[in-house]
């Protein structure tokens, strides 16, 4: 069975929030909308967001680095928010593994919000039902859209292509290959919720070079270092010969 998911490359995410705003824009206009905002432009914006970017510092000063971590519903394969829902409004689709909320069945008791270990649940304070990332279920199956646009809004908008979308159960999909070959990991796997979304870790390109690799073995004059500059009025050999 398919399990659609996002794979997010933390190596190239720059924390620009384009995914946050495009998600908000699409979903406000879509089936989940409107997504209430109380103070969208103040210092501490509040409101319903399906996708948020957390920033954290790894390491100890001065050896630190900043990591931007976009987080939305991880569409767990064993989602703890589903069994706790008293009315069954919270459910996981069999056909593609998307975890959804039936907005007509939700009574707004917010118990799923307690159960989600990832803090991915969002209570819409005006419609008073629980909402969350739908993986843009109303985009990805929309046959009126050109095929290349049948992607979640956040994936479409990411300027660094940090977000990949696909079926993690298909071993040949882009996302599966990325997870396999680039050490993709799940957030808090110790919960055994098996999040479908994966993260690709930060990567560093380093190489070990030994000192003897930097000294020429074949150097009869034993002269190391740069050659002295030629006077600018002299010709070099390259300019006078054809070889």
């Amino acid at each position: 069975m398919a399990q659609l998911a996002l794979v997010i490359d933390l190596n190239v995410c720059v924390g620009c929030h384009a995914c946050v705003t495009s998600c908000k824009e699409w979903n406000t206009a879509g089936a989940a909308g409107p997504m209430t905002d109380q103070s969208a432009y103040d210092k501490d914006p509040t409101g319903t967001f399906f996708n948020r970017v957390q920033t954290y510092e790894a390491g100890t000063f001065p050896n630190t680095e900043t990591i931007h971590f976009p987080k939305s519903c991880l569409h767990c394969e064993d989602p703890p928010c589903v069994p706790v829902c008293p009315t069954g409004a919270s459910y996981k689709r069999k056909e593609d593994g998307i975890v959804l909320v039936d907005y007509d069945k939700c009574i707004g008791c917010k118990y799923c919000s307690w159960a989600c270990p990832y803090g991915a649940r969002e209570f819409d304070e005006e419609q008073k039902v629980m909402k969350k990332c739908t993986l843009c279920v109303d985009r990805i199956y929309d046959l009126n859209k050109p095929e290349e646009e049948r992607l979640p809004a956040c994936v479409m908008s990411c300027p660094t292509s940090a977000r990949l979308f696909g079926d993690v159960h298909d071993p040949e999909s882009d996302v599966s290959i990325a997870i396999r070959e680039r050490a993709g990991y799940q957030l808090m796997p110790e919960w055994s919720t098996h999040p479908a979304n994966h993260y690709l870790p930060r990567r560093k390109t380093t190489m070990n070079i030994h000192q003897d690799e930097l000294i020429r073995a074949d150097n009869p004059l034993k002269k190391e270092g740069l050659l002295s500059d030629l006077p600018s009025d002299k010709q070099t050999l390259d300019e006078t010969t054809s070889w």
């Binding site: 929030h17 209430t36 109380q38 501490d44 914006p45 509040t46 967001f49 948020r52 970017v53 957390q54 920033t55 954290y56 510092e57 790894a58 971590f69 987080k71 703890p80 069994p83 706790v84 829902c85 008293p86 009315t87 069954g88 069945k105 939700c106 009574i107 707004g108 008791c109 917010k110 118990y111 919000s113 307690w114 159960a115 989600c116 270990p117 990832y118 803090g119 649940r121 969002e122 209570f123 304070e125 005006e126 419609q127 008073k128 039902v129 629980m130 957030l187 808090m188 919960w191």
Partner: protein, 407 residues
Amino acid sequence: MKIAYRTIEGRSRGYFALFGVLGLFVLAGLGAAHHMESEGHWITGMNNQIVWGMPHVFAVFLIVAASGALNIASISSVFAKTAYKPLARLSGLLSIALLAGGLMILVLDLGRPDRLIVAMTTYNFKSIFAWNIILYNGLFAIVAVYIWMMMEGRFNKYSRTVGMVAFIWRLLLTTGTGSIFGFLVARQGYDAAIMAPMFVVMSFSFGLAIFLLVLMASYSWSERPLGDATVKRLKNLLGVFVAGVLYFVLAYHLTNLYATEHHGYEAFLLLGENGGGIYSNLFWIGQVLLGSLLPLALLYHPVTGKNRVMLGFASVLIILGGLAQMYTIIIGGQAFPMAMFPGMEVSSSFGDGVTASYAPSTWEVMLGVGGFAMSLVIVTAAVKILAFLPEDLSDEIADPHTASKST
């Protein structure tokens, strides 16, 4: 000796004044709920981190106390202690009333109370929350039948059986309420099996404190005799329950302190680190000192233990301490940030990863107090309509030991 039950007269100015004041609180609560409902939940202090606020503190407290208030009736019919028999009807009434008040708050604090019918008809049996809906409704029905069996002379013989069912049901109910928190694996403050029995003992304590207050107030205001033997029995029992709650709280925290994983949460709650000052103050000053140790001293001190005003004061302190305990459990547990990136300092423009702040809005407090008032309105009305209260609870009548000595 035969116990004579009689309705209270309920024509005095004091009775109507009490009714009026409680009614005003109920109306204020309903008004607040309507306001929150029409404006949206953004006017409350709740947010995406603190999803259950002040109304839930009151609601869970009242629901827990409701099952505890039934204890007196259980002691009389299940454990056949005749001294408690005259109090059994009031115990059943208080149980229904407190449950009704708690559920009023709970339902009106739902995002969509208009969809209550969905909650009643569509059950997901894997959800402890769904089980609680069944447990709450069941307690109403069972206790109503129980009171009926006790009141109708022909059916008195069944009251023991129904009382047994009610006793088991109330234990299940409080286990269910405690498990709402005990089953929560996602947050540091919960995920503990001890929550269920702890809630059961909390219910004993809170329910009896309210019972003792209502009993003393109704007998004093209706000028009926209430003997010292009955009061002494209840206050000694109350002391045992208060100490029992402290024991469970101690066991819970000791377990957490032993496991390194929970040290952050314990430092937050017990020492007020990481922005937990309000919760540690509520815990130490509200719950432990004023809500447990001081009442224990008042209940067992040879002087204050005989003074009914002091016993009433101790009961009020236990109730306030119980509310403080609920606040630290419910709000404190949510405010503590989830351990998503252990050891990392997380920041975001949305307030994730930091200790969540919560300031209850007036509307939420009004709804909570309104529910409490609703419970008392039900009791005040019911004792006038049906014969819940024995006419005379003086020692010779109420206490069989004293009675047997005098004859």
